[in-house]
């Protein structure tokens, strides 16, 4: 066929034109249908897929707040670390590169090859939580198929010194124990997110849509003074070791502000490496463990009797040669005495004397004193696992129980409760609220006993550390001290264990204008000494002396060395 040929008029059948028209119409209808389908029905999906080609949602990381001591020293800090992972099937590396990688990660070459050889998985961790500098060297090797993720790791610079107090977090950076748990909502950050457009090279070129800002966690500043805490911990550690004790706790309170300046426990653990952690190391004993305090409770019995006018500091009490029988029980003194004044009952820690005084009191009055000084209710510290201790209702007390409660048996308290309760003697009868957060403002407290009674008991507590008292080893150079020793048998299987004791000492200084309360508890000393005056009092002295010096508290006693006192004088029995 050539173009020059004259077109001949050919009569075509009509159906052919109609067929073509119909085909066109059908094609058009198909197109309209398809476009309606895409534009109207599937539009959302298509837009999404389109955007997915160039836009990404990025997470904006938020950091967890720090935990600081009162001077701003960090006790817990989060720092970003990298985790290196690989898609084994995608890794193409030369032998030198692999060797470099193994060396940078601190991993054996064989181990590395073994992990990369397993191509059945699409994801394998090569190393978790490595420092950013190390991660950067890994990235510089530029091996395809090797990726990094950002994670956060919590570090505790003070380590075992503040372990139980600060607590720790889990791998997801959520608080598990201690302050980390109780202030979780304040410490936790909230990660944000944003949608961005990336160019071909992966650079972010534009923010699109709304940005949800990340909110970093807030810092928590504790009332703890790092220096006093460190001193308390090392003094406690030495004492627990020296006396072969099972455990121990120390609490230091600021009398003026109610702040907890130190709170140390033994045994302890390193929160930065919790591989070999055991339960007993985990407990913040000073708050979570209740124990029968023994003689450290006597001053409260005496205060109740003084308040009700049953006795004066000079009232004579006959201690019947150191033992009295009640029902089928015998109450004994460690050192038999004859007739003692009330002051001497405290100074010599006579159980018989305290029991006799208690029996002149209505049970409700003693119960009321215990409750008003905060025993039987958890201290308001907002700490996980705080114990309330046990103060049984006075209606169920039998006389023998009332008598033994006078010297701290049949009642249980935590060391923190005990330390706080002593604030009534240090603050002229006022019980102070206590806190684990820095406040630095003086607190007023609530009047629990009359100021006159508080002064009388304080004078008695001063005689405890004098020669002739049960706690001369609590004396310190340069300041006057008032306090009380305690040596309690441990209750076991419904009775008292014969040779298991808790030695304690609670006191405050300077006695003329109290500034600090220090409470020490040593659980089951296993050496030859077990009296509070021999085991706990030296820890008290060491911590009190150092803390008062660090706080620049004015001296109220001459700076002359303390003469040593023979151990014989520190005996007592409760």
């Amino acid at each position: 066929m050539s173009r020059a040929a004259t077109p001949a008029l050919v009569r075509l059948p009509v159906w052919r034109a109609r067929f073509v028209l119909a085909a066109f119409l059908a094609g058009f209808a198909l197109m309209v249908g398809r476009s309606v389908y895409l534009q109207a029905l599937k539009t959302g999906f298509l837009r999404e897929m389109g955007e997915a080609r160039y836009s990404r949602v990025l997470e904006i990381p938020a950091t967890r707040g720090r935990i600081l001591d009162r001077n701003g020293e960090p006790l817990a800090v989060s720092t970003p670390v990298k985790s290196v992972w690989a898609v084994p099937g995608d890794v193409h590396a030369s032998p030198e590169q692999l060797q470099h990688l193994a060396r940078t990660l601190g991993l054996g070459l064989r181990e590395l090859k073994k992990r990369l050889a397993d191509t059945s998985h699409d994801f394998v961790y090569l190393m978790r939580q490595i420092p950013p500098a190390q991660a950067k060297r890994v990235a510089e090797l530029d091996i395809p198929g090797i990726y990094q993720d950002q994670e956060y790791r919590r570090y505790y610079p003070a380590g075992e010194v503040t372990a139980q107090l600060v607590g720790f977090t889990d791998v997801d950076d959520a608080g598990q124990d201690g302050i980390e748990l109780s202030y979780q909502s304040r410490l936790a950050g909230r990660p944000g997110s944003r949608r961005v457009i990336r160019d071909r090279l992966g650079h972010i070129v534009e923010d699109v849509g709304s940005v949800r800002a990340a909110r970093d966690g807030k810092d928590v500043t504790l009332s703890i003074d790092g220096k006093i805490q460190s001193l308390a911990f090392s003094a406690l550690e030495q004492a627990v070791e020296r006396n072969k004790a099972k455990a121990g706790s120390v609490v230091v309170l600021d009398v003026r502000t109610g702040e907890v300046l130190a709170l140390a426990n033994m045994p302890s653990y390193n929160p930065n490496n919790r591989a070999q952690l055991v339960g007993s190391e985990l407990r913040n004993r000073a708050l979570t463990d209740a124990f029968e305090p023994g003689s450290t409770l006597k001053p409260f019995t005496i205060a109740t009797a003084l308040e009700l006018g049953k006795i004066t500091p000079l009232t004579r009490i006959d201690t019947d040669g150191g033992q009295i029988r009640m029902a089928r029980y015998t109450i004994r003194d460690a050192e038999p005495d004859g007739v003692l004044s009330v002051t001497q009952v405290i100074q010599r820690s006579s159980n018989v004397g305290a029991a006799k005084i208690a029996l002149t009191l209505p049970p409700v009055a003693m119960w009321d004193t215990f409750r008003r000084v905060g025993l039987g209710a958890p201290p308001p510290l907002d700490f996980p696992g705080e114990t309330a201790g046990i103060v049984r209702p006075y209606r169920s007390w039998r006389p023998i129980e009332q008598a033994t409660m006078a010297y701290g048996n049949g009642i249980s308290v935590s060391l923190m409760q005990l330390a706080r309760a002593y604030s009534i003697f240090a603050r002229n009868g006022k019980l102070i609220p206590i806190t684990l957060l820095r406040t630095a403002t003086p607190v007023t407290g609530t009047q629990v006993i009359p100021a006159r009674v508080a002064h009388e008991v304080r004078d008695m507590l001063e005689t405890v550390v004098e020669p002739g008292g049960t706690g001369p080893r609590a004396r310190i150079m340069g300041w006057t001290v008032a306090g009380k020793t305690g040596t309690a048998h441990i209750a076991e299987n419904g009775g008292y264990a014969a040779h298991k004791y808790i030695a304690s000492f609670v006191g405050f200084a300077p006695a003329s204008a109290p500034r600090l309360i220090v409470a020490v508890m040593i659980d089951q000393p296993g050496g030859k000494d077990y009296y509070g005056g021999l085991v706990a009092a030296p820890v008290f002295a060491q911590v009190m002396q150092g803390a008062l010096r660090m706080l620049n508290v004015p001296h109220d006693a001459p700076l002359v060395p303390i003469e040593p006192v023979p151990a014989e004088d520190s005996k007592e029995d409760a």
Binding site: E73, P74, V77, P132, A158, D207, L559
Partner: protein, 92 residues
Amino acid sequence: MAKLNLLLLAVLIACALGLVTSQNKARQLFSEVEQAQDHAHQLNVEYGQLQLEAGTWGQHARVQKIAREVLGMHTPDPANVRIIMPAGEPAH
């Protein structure tokens, strides 16, 4: 009419080029902001690490040990201590 159209065409092209330039500039600036923010974040991270390091070096137990053992320091003897009270109060 044709003249007006030509003029409008020229204006249109100028506007289009302007848009392209400003968009490009905006993206460049944005990327600079990004980099600056990245840098700020890195500095923050480094600050945290330095703080941690300072905290670790400054452990009271460590300072005390060095003071005692390396520097030979000790708490002063009572005989060598004199206390000065403010405003001439009597000292013990």
